[in-house]
Amino acid sequence: MTAPFPNRPRADAREKVMGAARYGADHQVAGLLYAMQVPATIAKGRIASLSVNAAMQVPGVIRVLTSTDFLPPPPAAPGAPPPPATLTTDIAYRGQPVALVVAETLEAAIEGAEAIRPTYTVAPAFTSLIEQPGMVREAVKSVTAGDATRAMARAVTRHKADYVSPPQHHNPIEMLSTTAVWENGQLTIFESTQSSSNTKGAVMRSMRLTPEQVTVKSPQIGGGFGQRGGAQRQTALVARAAMLLGRPVKLVLPRGQIFHNATFRPKNRHRIEIGADASGKMIAVRYDADQQQSREGQFPPDYHESVPMLYGIENYHGTAANLRIDTQAPGYMRSPTPHPSCFAFESAVDELALKLGVDPVAFRLRHRATTDPIHGHKLSSCYLSECLTEGARRFGWERRSLQPGSMTLPDGTQVGWGVASGAYPGSAHPNIVTLRVNADGTTRFAAAGHEMGQGIRSTIEQVLVRELAIDPLKLEIAIGDTSVAPQHTTAGSWGTASVVPAAAEAAANLNAAMAELLAGRQVAGNLHRQLATVRRPSLQVKVEHVAVDQGPKDLATLRKGGMALVGPDYSTFTTYSYIAHFVEVHVEPGTRRVRVPRVVSIADCGRVISPRTAESQVRGGVIWGIGAALREATEVDPRYGGWLNNDLADYVVPVNADIGSIDVGFIDRPDPLINALGAKGLGEVAMTGCAGAIANAIHHATGKRLREMPFRIEDLL
């Protein structure tokens, strides 16, 4: 059932290299109008006056929507977060939309939006930084295993330090956009979203429409990284404009407005203490984390997910808190909490190993996790030790000298080798899939899922092509569309594990149905040929697949477009993916630039379904780690609020010249419990720990321990 999969090209690569793939703003509709948001220019307060006259004077502008054009927020619905606010007169953050200008052309919409300069009643005070007065601290439930206080007391070697990760923005290259078409009482939304279901639910409730009236289509996403996981504020604005005007409306948000309206990774802080016993094994962790949060935000400070799953440390006490200030809501950004927590913890582990005088790989290998200490379950699979061992072998780790600052090149460049581990929760959702094989040579598979670069179509194709005698070139994979299958949010690295088992089940059922149809007759050729021979135009199966521990209730939640997740702590086991990163850094002697010429990353994601796209996923994760460690931070001037460096020139993401060699390997052993194929998640564990490996490598190169990201030139001068 679960032999290794072959290395096949990416399923939708051809349409992507031809520029034919359709992203959110690429859909052609007749009679299109263009919209532009007017952003608030204060951090907090109220609109005092908003005149649309100047905008209406602009030739081509046909309407300006303001707060009075919208229905009040819908009544609360059980189990669903409220949809994003529409246009309101209260301003909660800088850049919040205060009006939407709709025009015949994009140029006119922009000119019209620029002509609107509302006056505001500015709030007497606002809080833009967690270090400022006005911040409200709100602790959440702590996470405990064993007795960390007692164990820490008997530890003979301890390390304690603080680590910090800054605010960051996802910045997928595709901008946020919405195209809304209102026709015959039907609303169709074209929008790149990781959650067409969520977007549908939100716009439906905001507009008081029925499920039958709303379709959301998101066939290709130009990068998600979590930014498109929730409903966006602009969707209902554009939908409303289309409904009011009876013509299709498109809005593409300028990058600066995206910085201010999309979610972001909040600043987060970590105070970590680790204790080791006389044998040099870690026995206790005390870990206090907190994070920046908006006044109403719900992004949970789950900083104690991954760390307890790395090394089987039995005594753990973790606290966490939200620090509420005036900002837009933070949210999930690639490896949301595991990235910063593994950066912090894996830096601390490195510091402890150094204190003990032990090689950091050997030190980690002393600790093999077999159980989840928080929930008391066994780990369904954990090959972190194998990742570390294989990574060390490929990297040539045995040639590393233990002493920091001991490896230099002839020109004085300091060389550092660092290692760190990462773990990421393994979750899944149900999937209602339809598989139809046609006599004309085509096949169509419809399911819940969204393609945002991770290659979900490739994983589906792998399974279908292996299990079914079909023509792979004529296989259509319909996902991200609420009209083809009930959709679920695709995030949290649960996409593959939530669709490939359903695809496998559908394929098996289809083969069985074919056998039944043929009733023992021997018919030559592939399934298409066989159908043609027996004069059947098509054969279709539908599968309602649920994940471990799930049942009809979860299917019902999926049908309603809700979150129907299970994991990583299942009823009898816990599932995480793992990775080990090995990083070489070079630090210039003079101007202290840090380069990363070489990375080796070995991942345990269970069975690798699509080797080629999986490798790309890990390389991308490593580049995100490099970006986070060395480049990316969104800056706030507390006098003004909002974000100062709100473009791609000043929010510094890695470019091609920043990236050297990235060697990727997989353990590729199926998880025995998580699903029939043994596939765990990959997209986020790929990033997790990488920043820690860079911090550790910089320390090894220079002897300087950097604990607050990003590490910039000034930190090493």
């Binding site: 229905l71 996403i221 130009g222 796209t613 010249a657």
Partner: protein, 202 residues
């Protein structure tokens, strides 16, 4: 408007009643003098300019608003959506096209400037169903993930080889740094360009 009331499930106010009506003014709900609703468009928008350009080998006479960028002309008027908007300020490279054979950022190119010049976009790169070698190399090396920056990457890559800037890994990296790939496909992109440069054609 009984149907609308049923649809919305809320009592109608003047504003909320407007939803979904195709002919607003005809419905009598909005007067022409309503400051928030303009009369239907009767005159062209902005300063108009007639230009004659060639796009992917075809002569394209087109009238533009003089403010229009080449990117918006391609995407919104000519419906060539291969070139992408990622920043609109020359900071990402997703909008890269060729003008007279040279790669440019179409978002910072006034459309007026391509009057009399030849534009090539990703849609004009393949020879019918036969991919350009660079497109094939991008597939071979999985030099893409989400694919959004890919048209710009490929147009830049073709130019990079043509310019003679694909002579080493480091040089490719430098000369491809104007195209940001947030998914992080840089390793594959460099390998794809090396493959094509090694063959000596692009």
């Amino acid at each position: 408007m009984p149907d609308m009331e049923h649809l919305l499930g809320v009592p109608l106010t003047r504003r909320t009643a407007l939803g979904g009506t195709a002919a607003l003014t005809a419905s009598g709900l909005i007067s022409e003098s309503d400051p928030a609703v303009a009369a239907p468009l009767r005159k062209p928008v902005g300063t108009r300019l007639a230009i004659r350009t060639t796009v992917n080998g075809k002569a394209v006479p087109v009238e533009i608003d003089v403010r229009t960028s080449l990117l918006d002309l391609l995407r919104e008027q000519l419906h060539l959506t291969g070139a992408k908007k990622g920043c609109d300020h020359g900071q990402c490279g997703a909008c890269t096209v060729h003008v007279d054979g040279q790669r440019v950022a179409s978002c910072l190119t006034l459309a007026a400037k391509v009057d009399g010049r030849a534009v090539t976009t990703i849609e004009g790169l393949a020879d019918g169903e036969t991919l350009h070698p660079m497109q094939q190399a991008f597939i071979d090396h999985d030099a893409l993930q989400c694919g959004y920056c890919t048209p710009g990457q490929i147009m830049a890559a073709v130019a990079c080889v043509r310019e003679g800037n694909a002579t080493s890994k480091d040089r490719i990296r430098e000369y491809m740094s104007g195209n940001i790939c947030r998914c992080g496909a840089y390793v594959g992109i460099v390998a794809a360009i090396e493959q094509v440069a090694g063959r000596g054609k692009a």
